[in-house]
């Protein structure tokens, strides 16, 4: 359990640092790399990437959303035909980021497993 918490924290933290200069998909590489380094149960590996990015993006987007007074997120919700519920756009943002990163961490885990590490 401690390992997965560490992985989540590392994925969130390193992605945050690297995303400042690298494109958004660096989150997938980070999740992939962390799983290669740490490994663990394959069945849980999706969640290290998923939660790492889900939490990081959700907090980031929500802070912006609050500071903005929800002006833009309301418009984006309308644009993507989402219901007008507070934080829905931040949540969808975090979910999408989480899923891609989760796939990255799962792939990293499977890569490690190929070499029986």
């Amino acid at each position: 359990m401690k390992i997965i918490a560490l992985k989540i924290a590392l994925i969130a933290g390193i992605s945050f640092g690297l995303q400042l200069f690298l494109p958004w998909w660096v989150i997938v590489i980070v999740a992939f790399a962390i799983e290669i380094l740490f490994g663990g149960k394959t069945s849980l590996s999706f969640f290290s990437g998923f939660y790492g990015i889900f939490i990081y993006w959700l907090i980031y987007a929500s802070i912006i959303d609050i500071q903005n007074g929800f002006i833009l997120s309301k418009k984006i919700a309308l644009l993507f035909h989402l219901p007008q519920i507070p934080f829905i756009v931040a949540l969808v943002t975090a979910l999408i980021g989480g899923i891609v990163a989760g796939l990255g961490s799962l792939t990293g885990n499977l890569f490690r497993k190929m070499f029986n590490l």
């Binding site: 958004w24 980031y60 903005n68 943002t93 999408i96």
Partner: protein
């Protein structure tokens, strides 16, 4: 097995990552767009704008940009170069996407951004010669050192902003539509001015008129489409003496050949794009100083077509609205003068039928000789598809817009060329450059001499208590009815033989009545020595003139009321007769018809938001004209319905005209104006009943609700269904999607005082609190007092930005 699992997982991940990095259909590249670090979230601004206190730019001397509370920038520069560089920079930092999108539209390059579906639009821009016009204008700038300097400085400023952009700070629409801004050039500024020229001068009806006269004959045509409607009150008051003709033209002959044109006409100026402006002399104001007012009516859009700005340098101190993409202030005031514009609505676009020698289209007939065409190959780049190529043949008259398969329907083989004043080289920016600096009447007159297209009525007032108006533009001197119909391009007399000399353009200074005004009506009466055509307003302008004649001791407040006046002169002139025609004794007491009748009998002709009377009147007269003009429906060629005043004139003068025979109810007894109007009244009752039972708010404000639409027509970025009063024939010409795009009132004096409002906000970013900051104030007919700073007085500045020369 492990390898397979890995490969499957890797493939899914890669496919997802790639597809989220790509624009798919209307969907933006999802990963790029939604990630909070670089995506749209970064365009979500805090309520308090983050304006850095210092900025390094390539200015020659230290300068300052002071923003007031409403985020209007007040630029204080030391020289021309720095001034326009900074105008370019601040405008771009607030409105870059809009500036570029509009110039892409003008150049026919929208397909590059949104793909195949914009090809017809782009093709039309290329074929009417938008790029050709803009390039001709650039040639003029290149030879004029002053214009060149200004344009280059402005471009430098815009490019400084573009170059400072990162993926994170890119304006929202670029992220959504997934493309990047390109370098700004003076060609782009010219394209923007041509974009305005097209918006304001595409008001000719040569095709429709040709089809109509062939259908109904000359006598009826002249009755329905007279050059002057009875009661016309021109900009230059009747009785003014004009100079005699000073350029000679050989007269020609109208010939329409009985041939109907089935081509679909290209994009036209909306009839309700117009404007009001007026100036009252000190003799009529409470302060003894003149007051000038202007409200240009355009399609309301977001980001707004206007950007407020103050420009200050040693030779200039001007405030007003600018067009994002062009240097200078277009409508505004300085310490000494104020000016405003309305559209002249004079026809400056004619269509000529071209006879090609053969299918190669290399030669065409003119004055019994074969002349050569120039072929221009247009490459329209298309996103996600192969480029589309089109060939446009240019004649000395202009580009052959209709030819081959363009907008064709059926087997029509007419080749039609467009002659348009926007094609000729001109330097409209010089006008604004000199107006911005004008100190007196002669400076204003001088500034106007540069102005060609789109023709405008420039109203003027100064602190020395002069008022004036000039209808300025490049207008062809026509023989009678020349250009009203499609002309034979091979006949010499049909081409434009002369331009009305600039000094003879309609103008007046300090008239006895103490005011000057224009609202897109006729410039002059029938005694003017030149024949001209146009699409002229008939009601708004007369209301303004009668109000201004009546008013004394005018204040800014009374001017606000006049700009927001909802009085419908058309109703006042015609509703009493229409009500007389209603068979009142046939109406049941508790019927909707009775309710409608009562509402209309009590109505004061005001199109106020909470009233039902205006809804009923609007439905009624429109249905009445639909019945009257049903002869012109469903034809395989385009026709123009006559102006409503023609329908009312028929009702009064020829109530038994054949046009009143209602085609769809032939079985019923023959109709006349009385029966038809009553039928329309009955229909109005049904319609109002429908609105009430379906809970659709019959009050006028809801029926006239206006949407201020985002330029890329994205509903989420638009301001939808704004409930407001006003009417297309009222001074407050709110007529969805058009309306007063900027209301300005300036009181001149030792120091000018001014008020203004526009339905938008200074920021062009949908994620900003300032994107629609002024809309509600505008809808409530309220104004902001404008902050006019000087070098000495800048106390109303809220954010100060020092501009430091970059080494």
């Amino acid at each position: 097995m492990k390898i397979l699992k890995f490969i499957v997982s890797l493939s899914i991940t890669l496919i997802l990552v790639f597809s989220m990095n790509m624009k798919i259909g209307m969907l933006p590249p999802l990963g790029k767009f939604i990630n909070p670090v670089n995506g749209f979230w970064q365009n979500a601004e805090k309520p308090e704008p983050e304006i850095p206190a210092e900025l390094k730019l390539k200015v020659n001397a230290s300068s300052k940009i002071i923003y007031d509370e409403r985020l209007v920038p007040h630029i204080f520069a030391e020289n021309i170069h720095d001034l326009y560089l900074l105008q370019g920079y601040v405008t771009a930092s607030n409105r870059l996407w809009q500036m570029e999108f509009q110039t892409h539209a003008a150049a026919g390059r929208i397909s590059e951004i949104i793909g195949e579906k914009a090809i017809p639009f782009d093709r039309e821009q290329r074929r009417i010669g938008m790029l050709f016009s803009a390039e001709n204008a650039v040639k003029v700038f290149e030879t004029d050192t002053l214009a060149k300097q200004i344009m280059e400085a402005y471009s430098e400023g815009v490019n400084a902003y573009i170059n400072s952009l990162t993926e994170k700070t890119l304006p929202l629409e670029y992220k959504l539509l997934d493309y990047k801004p390109e370098e700004w050039t003076s060609l782009k500024s010219s394209l923007l001015l041509k974009f305005m020229a097209k918006m304001l001068t595409a008001n000719e009806h040569d095709f429709e008129n040709t089809n109509m006269i062939n259908l109904i004959g000359k006598e009826k045509f002249d009755l329905l489409f007279p050059d002057y409607f009875p009661g016309t009150d021109p900009i230059i008051p009747r009785g003014t003496i004009f100079d005699d003709v000073s350029v000679h033209i050989d007269s020609g002959k109208v010939s329409t050949n009985g041939k109907q044109t089935t081509y679909a006409p290209i994009e036209k100026t909306d009839e309700h794009i117009g404007s009001n402006n007026w100036a009252v002399s000190g003799s009529k104001t409470a302060s003894g100083k003149p007051i000038l007012c202007n409200d240009p009516h355009l399609k309301l859009s977001l980001p707004s077509i206007w950007y407020e700005i103050q420009l200050n340098a040693p030779d200039i101190n001007v405030y007003g609205v600018s067009l994002p993409g062009a240097p200078s202030v277009v409508i505004g005031f300085n310490d000494s003068i104020a000016w405003g514009v309305t559209n002249a609505s004079v026809d400056v676009r004619d269509w000529y039928e071209i006879t090609f020698k053969d299918d190669s289209k290399k030669q065409y007939l003119f004055n019994e000789k074969w002349l050569n065409t120039t072929a221009q190959i247009e490459e329209i780049k298309v996103r996600g598809a192969k480029a589309f190529y089109d060939t446009v043949y240019y004649t000395h008259l202009g580009p052959v817009v209709y030819e081959g398969d363009f907008n064709a329907s059926g087997s029509q083989q007419q080749n039609l060329a467009l002659k348009w004043t926007a094609h000729s080289p001109s330097n409209e920016l010089a006008t604004f450059y000199f107006l911005n600096r004008a100190k007196n009447y002669s400076d204003y007159e001088y500034a106007l001499t540069f102005y060609q297209c789109p023709g405008q009525n420039f109203v003027y007032a100064d602190a020395q208590n002069n008022i004036a108006i000039w209808q300025q533009g490049r207008f062809p001197a026509r023989w009678k009815e020349q250009g009203k119909f499609i002309m034979d391009g091979s006949v010499k007399e049909n081409e434009w033989q002369a331009i009305i000399p600039q000094k003879q353009n309609p103008h007046i200074k300090n008239p006895e009545r103490g005011f000057v005004s224009s609202a897109n009506q006729h410039g002059v009466d029938e005694t003017y020595p030149y024949y001209y055509l146009g699409m002229f307003e008939h009601y708004r302008n007369r209301r303004i003139n009668s109000e201004l004649s009546r008013m004394q001791k005018i204040t800014a407040d009374s001017m606000f009321r006049l700009q927001n006046d909802n009085y419908n002169l058309m109703a006042a002139e015609n509703l009493p007769l229409m009500l007389d025609y209603v068979k009142k004794n046939e109406l049941k007491n508790d019927s909707v018809e009775k309710l409608v009748l009562n509402a209309l009998e009590k109505w004061n002709y005001m199109h106020d938001a909470e009233m039902i009377g205006p809804t009923a009147f609007d439905l009624w007269w429109k249905q009445y004209t639909t019945f009257v003009w049903d002869e012109f429906e469903d034809k395989p060629y385009k026709l123009l319905k006559p102006h409503p005043s023609a329908a009312f004139r028929l009702m009064k003068e020829f109530p038994d005209d054949k046009l009143f025979i209602h085609l769809t109810t032939k079985d019923r007894k023959p109709k006349n104006a009385i029966n038809l109007s009553y039928d329309a009244f009955y229909w109005t009752g049904l319609k109002i009943n429908e609105l009430i039972t379906e809970d659709e708010h019959p009050q006028w404000g809801f029926q006239n609700a206006i949407t201020v639409e985002h330029l890329a027509r994205i509903p989420a970025f638009s301001f939808n269904n704004l409930v407001t009063g006003g009417y297309k024939y009222a001074v407050n010409a709110v007529s969805p999607p058009n309306g007063p795009s900027w209301r300005m009132v300036v009181e001149l004096g030792d120091k000018p005082k001014a008020w203004g409002v526009y339905p938008g906000g200074q920021s062009g970013n949908p994620g900003s609190h300032n994107y629609t900051a002024f809309v509600e104030k505008w809808a409530k007919s309220e104004y902001y007092e404008l902050v006019f700073m000087s070098k000495e007085n800048q106390k109303e500045g809220k954010y100060i930005q020092q501009i430091i020369p970059e080494k």
